[in-house]
C-alpha cells in the first residue's frame, strides 16, 4: 500500500503532465485518434498487416473482458481460452449448420459463454486466490478436451473449416474490402463503451471494492458473492464476442487454437497494459500481438522473452505500463458529487 502512495506523489512528473494534458484536450485527442484508426485502410497496408491490426483489436476485446474480472474484481482467471473457444465454436456452428447470420450467431455465442461463465463463477463462492485460479485453469483444459472428444458436434481434432465471413446487407466483410477491419473497430468501440459504463456504475464500484478489500466490501453491505459471479458472467460474455469474431476472421478453428498459451497471452495483455485501466488493454494487445511479428529476428527466443517480460513486469512495474491511471483519484459523477455535497439525502451513496 505504501508503494502505491509513493507512486502517486511521483506522478507530478512527466506522466502526470501528460495525463493532465490528455484530460484537458480530451475531445480533440479522441477525434484525432478515431480519424487515424478510420483512415488506417487508406494507407494501403498489406492484408497481412491488416490481419495483425484485427488481431490486436480482438485481443483488446479479450483484454477488456478479462480486465473486468482480474483488473477490477481481483479474480485471476487462467482459463479464458475456454470461454474464447466456446464463443468461437458456438457462433461457427450456428453459422455453418443453421445458416444463422453473423450478428445473431455472435450474440447467441456471447450469451452461451456468459451462461458458462455463470457456471464457472459459482465455485468462486467457495474459493479464493490461487484455488480459484486453478479451477479456471482446469476449466480451460476441460473445454479443450470436450472439443476434441465430442466429434458429433465439434468435428473433433479435425476442427471446423470454411467458417463464413460476416455479411451485412448482402455485402460480405472480408480482409480485402476492409469490412472486417471496420467491423472490428465498431466491436471494439462498443465493448469499450459497455465496459466503461459497467465500471463507472454501482456494479463497477462494487467490483473495485471487492478487489481492494473483500472484508471491508462485505462490511459496507456489498453482496460480494453475487458481484463475483456477475463479474464472471460479464467477462465471459465479452470473451465470447471476441471468440465469435476470431472464428470468422481465421475461418478455421480446432482445439489447438485455444491452448493454455492463449489464456496466458490474454492475462499478459491485461498485466502488461495495466490491470484496472481501459487504455492499457489497447497498448498491451498492440505490444504483445505485434511483438512476435516484429521480433522474428529473435527466432524461437521470443517466447522466452515473453516469459521474461512477465517476470520483469511483476518485479518492477506490477501495475502495468499504463497503470498509473488507476492510481488517479476516482472521478465522481455529477450526481454523486451533488449527493456528497448534501443536496440530496446522502444515505443512498454507499451502494445500490
Amino acid at each position: 500500500m505504501t508503494k502505491l502512495n509513493e507512486k502517486k506523489t511521483e506522478g507530478t512528473g512527466f506522466i502526470f503532465q501528460m495525463e493532465s494534458f490528455l484530460d484537458k484536450y480530451k475531445l480533440p485527442v479522441c477525434i484525432a485518434g478515431a480519424a487515424l484508426l478510420l483512415a488506417v485502410p487508406a494507407f494501403g497496408f498489406s492484408q497481412y498487416l491488416m490481419r495483425i491490426f484485427i488481431m490486436i483489436g480482438i485481443y483488446s476485446i479479450l483484454g477488456m473482458g478479462l480486465n473486468i474480472l482480474t483488473g477490477y474484481t481481483g479474480l485471476v482467471s487462467l482459463g479464458h481460452a475456454g470461454f474464447f473457444a466456446i464463443g468461437a465454436y458456438t457462433s461457427s456452428l450456428l453459422m455453418l449448420r443453421l445458416n444463422v447470420p453473423f450478428l445473431a450467431a455472435m450474440i447467441c455465442a456471447a450469451c452461451l459463454t456468459g451462461a458458462v461463465g455463470l457456471l464457472l463463477g459459482l465455485p468462486s463462492l467457495r474459493l479464493s486466490g490461487s484455488y480459484l485460479t486453478i479451477v479456471t485453469l482446469g476449466f480451460g483444459e476441460i473445454v479443450k478436451m470436450i472439443i476434441v472428444n465430442w466429434d458429433a458436434v465439434t468435428n473433433g481434432t479435425l476442427g471446423l473449416k470454411n467458417i463464413p465471413k460476416p455479411a451485412f446487407f448482402g455485402v460480405s466483410m472480408t480482409l480485402a474490402n476492409n469490412g472486417l477491419y471496420y467491423t472490428m473497430l465498431i466491436m471494439v468501440f462498443l465493448v469499450a463503451v459497455a465496459s466503461m459504463a459497467i465500471i463507472r456504475s454501482n456494479t463497477g464500484r462494487a467490483f473495485q471494492a471487492i478487489k481492494e478489500d473483500e472484508m471491508a466490501a462485505t462490511m459496507m453491505g456489498i453482496r460480494t458473492m453475487r458481484y463475483k459471479v456477475l463479474a464472471f458472467v460479464i467477462s465471459a460474455f465479452i470473451t465470447g464476442i471476441a471468440g465469435a469474431f476470431y472464428a470468422t476472421l481465421v475461418g478455421f478453428i480446432d482445439a489447438n487454437s485455444f491452448t493454455f498459451d492463449v489464456s496466458t497471452l490474454i492475462i499478459s495483455v491485461v498485466i502488461v497494459g495495466g490491470m484496472g485501466t481501459m487504455r492499457g488493454m489497447f497498448l498491451g494487445a498492440a505490444l504483445l500481438i505485434a511483438f512476435p511479428e516484429v521480433s522474428r529476428s529473435l527466432m524461437e527466443y521470443r517466447f522466452v522473452v515473453y516469459g521474461l517480460l512477465l517476470v520483469v513486469m511483476m518485479r518492477f512495474r506490477p501495475q502495468g505500463l499504463l497503470g498509473w491511471k488507476s492510481q488517479m483519484p476516482y472521478k465522481l459523477s455529477k450526481r454523486a458529487k451533488a449527493l456528497l455535497a448534501g443536496k440530496n439525502e446522502p444515505a443512498q451513496t454507499a451502494n445500490g
Binding site: K3, G129, E141, V304, G307, L310, V311, P318
Partner: protein, 295 residues
C-alpha cells in the same frame, strides 16, 4: 478377465501415482511455506527429466546421472526463488504478482528446453532394464516396482527431514508463522531456498522415473504432469505430505482405470474432474488444515 484387467490397471496406476506423489510433494512444500501455487513446478519437473537425459547420455552410470540431475534441478529451484520470487517478497507484492511470475518462469524454462533440446519427443534410455516380474498371475514391470520403491524411500526421507531434523523444524516453524520464526532466529530466506531445493530435487527424481517408464522426454511434458500432480496435492490437502501421497495414488489409479474403461482420450481429463470436484466440495482436501485460505 475383467478382474485381472482391473487389478493390473490398479497396479499400473499405483506405480504412476507414486511418481505423481513426488511431484505433488513439491507443490505442497512450497505452498505450505509461501502460500503460493508454484506454476513453474511442472517445467521444473520437465527440466529434471531433460537433465537426466543429458547426464545419462554422458555414460557415467545411471545413478550418478540422476543424482546430478537432482542437484541441478534443486539449484534451479533456488535460482527461481532468489531471482524472481524473493524480490517480490521483499516488496510485499500482492499474491497475484508471485503467481504470474511463476507462470512467466514456467514459460521461460519450457521454451529454453525447446531451444536446447528440440521440441520433438526424444527416446529416454530404458534405465532399469530388468525383466518382468509375475506375482500371482499379475505382471509387474520392474520399472514400475522401481518407481514405487524409489518414491517410497524418497518420501520417507522427506518425512524424516521435515519431522526429525533441525532444518525441518525451521521449515515447520516458517510454515506456521514466518514472522515469528524470524524472531526466533530462523533464517527464513534460507529455509525457503532449502524448500525450493527439496521440491526441485524430488521433481527431478519423478522426472527421471516417469521418463524411464514411458521412455519418452519432451519439453511440454511438464504441463500435464504438473497439473495432475497439483490435482493430487489439492486432493490430499495442499501443504500435507501424506496427503500428497494419497492424492497422487488416487489420481494415478483413476487415470489408468479411466484410460482402460472409458476412453484413452479421457485419460488426462480425469485429474481435472477430480480437482474441480474436490475444490468445490472440500477445498481443504482430505488431510488439509482448516483456515489456509483467508477471506
Amino acid at each position: 478377465m475383467a478382474e485381472v484387467l482391473i487389478v493390473q490397471q490398479v497396479l499400473n496406476g499405483l506405480a504412476l501415482g507414486m511418481a505423481y506423489a513426488l511431484i505433488a510433494v513439491g507443490y505442497s512444500l512450497v505452498f505450505g511455506i509461501l502460500r503460493l501455487v508454484n506454476f513453474s513446478h511442472g517445467s521444473i519437473y520437465a527440466f529434471g527429466a531433460h537433465a537426466a537425459l543429458l547426464f545419462v547420455g554422458f555414460e557415467f552410470g545411471v545413478l550418478p546421472a540422476i543424482l546430478l540431475s537432482m542437484v541441478c534441478t534443486g539449484l534451479l529451484g533456488i535460482l527461481i526463488d532468489k531471482a524472481a520470487l524473493e524480490p517480490l517478497r521483499k516488496k510485499n507484492s500482492v499474491p497475484i504478482a508471485a503467481l504470474i511470475t511463476t507462470i512467466g518462469v514456467s514459460n521461460i524454462i519450457q521454451n529454453l528446453l525447446m531451444i536446447w533440446f528440440g521440441s520433438e519427443k526424444k527416446a529416454f534410455p530404458a534405465v532399469f532394464n530388468l525383466p518382468m516380474i509375475e506375482i500371482g498371475g499379475f505382471r509387474i514391470q520392474s520399472t514400475q516396482l522401481m518407481m514405487c520403491v524409489v518414491s517410497l524411500i524418497l518420501l520417507l526421507v522427506l518425512t524424516l527431514v521435515i519431522n526429525k531434523t533441525k532444518i525441518g523444524l525451521a521449515m515447520r516453524a516458517t510454515e506456521q508463522n514466518p514472522k515469528a520464526a524470524k524472531l526466533m532466529g530462523v533464517n527464513v530466506n534460507f529455509v525457503i531456498s532449502f524448500t525450493f531445493f527439496l521440491a526441485g530435487a524430488s521433481a527431478a527424481i519423478a522426472g527421471g522415473l516417469i521418463s524411464g517408464y514411458y521412455q519418452i522426454v519432451y519439453p511440454g511434458m511438464g504441463f500435464m504432469a504438473g497439473l495432475k500432480a497439483f490435482a493430487a496435492s489439492v486432493l490430499g490437502g495442499i501443504g500435507s505430505l501424506p496427503g500428497a501421497v494419497v492424492g497422487g495414488l488416487v489420481v494415478g489409479v483413476s487415470e489408468c482405470l479411466a484410460a482402460t474403461f472409458i476412453n484413452s482420450t479421457y485419460r488426462d481429463s480425469v485429474a481435472f474432474i477430480i480437482l474441480i470436484v474436490v475444490l468445490i466440495v472440500r477445498p481443504t482436501g482430505l488431510f488439509g488444515k482448516k483456515g489456509i485460505t483467508k477471506v
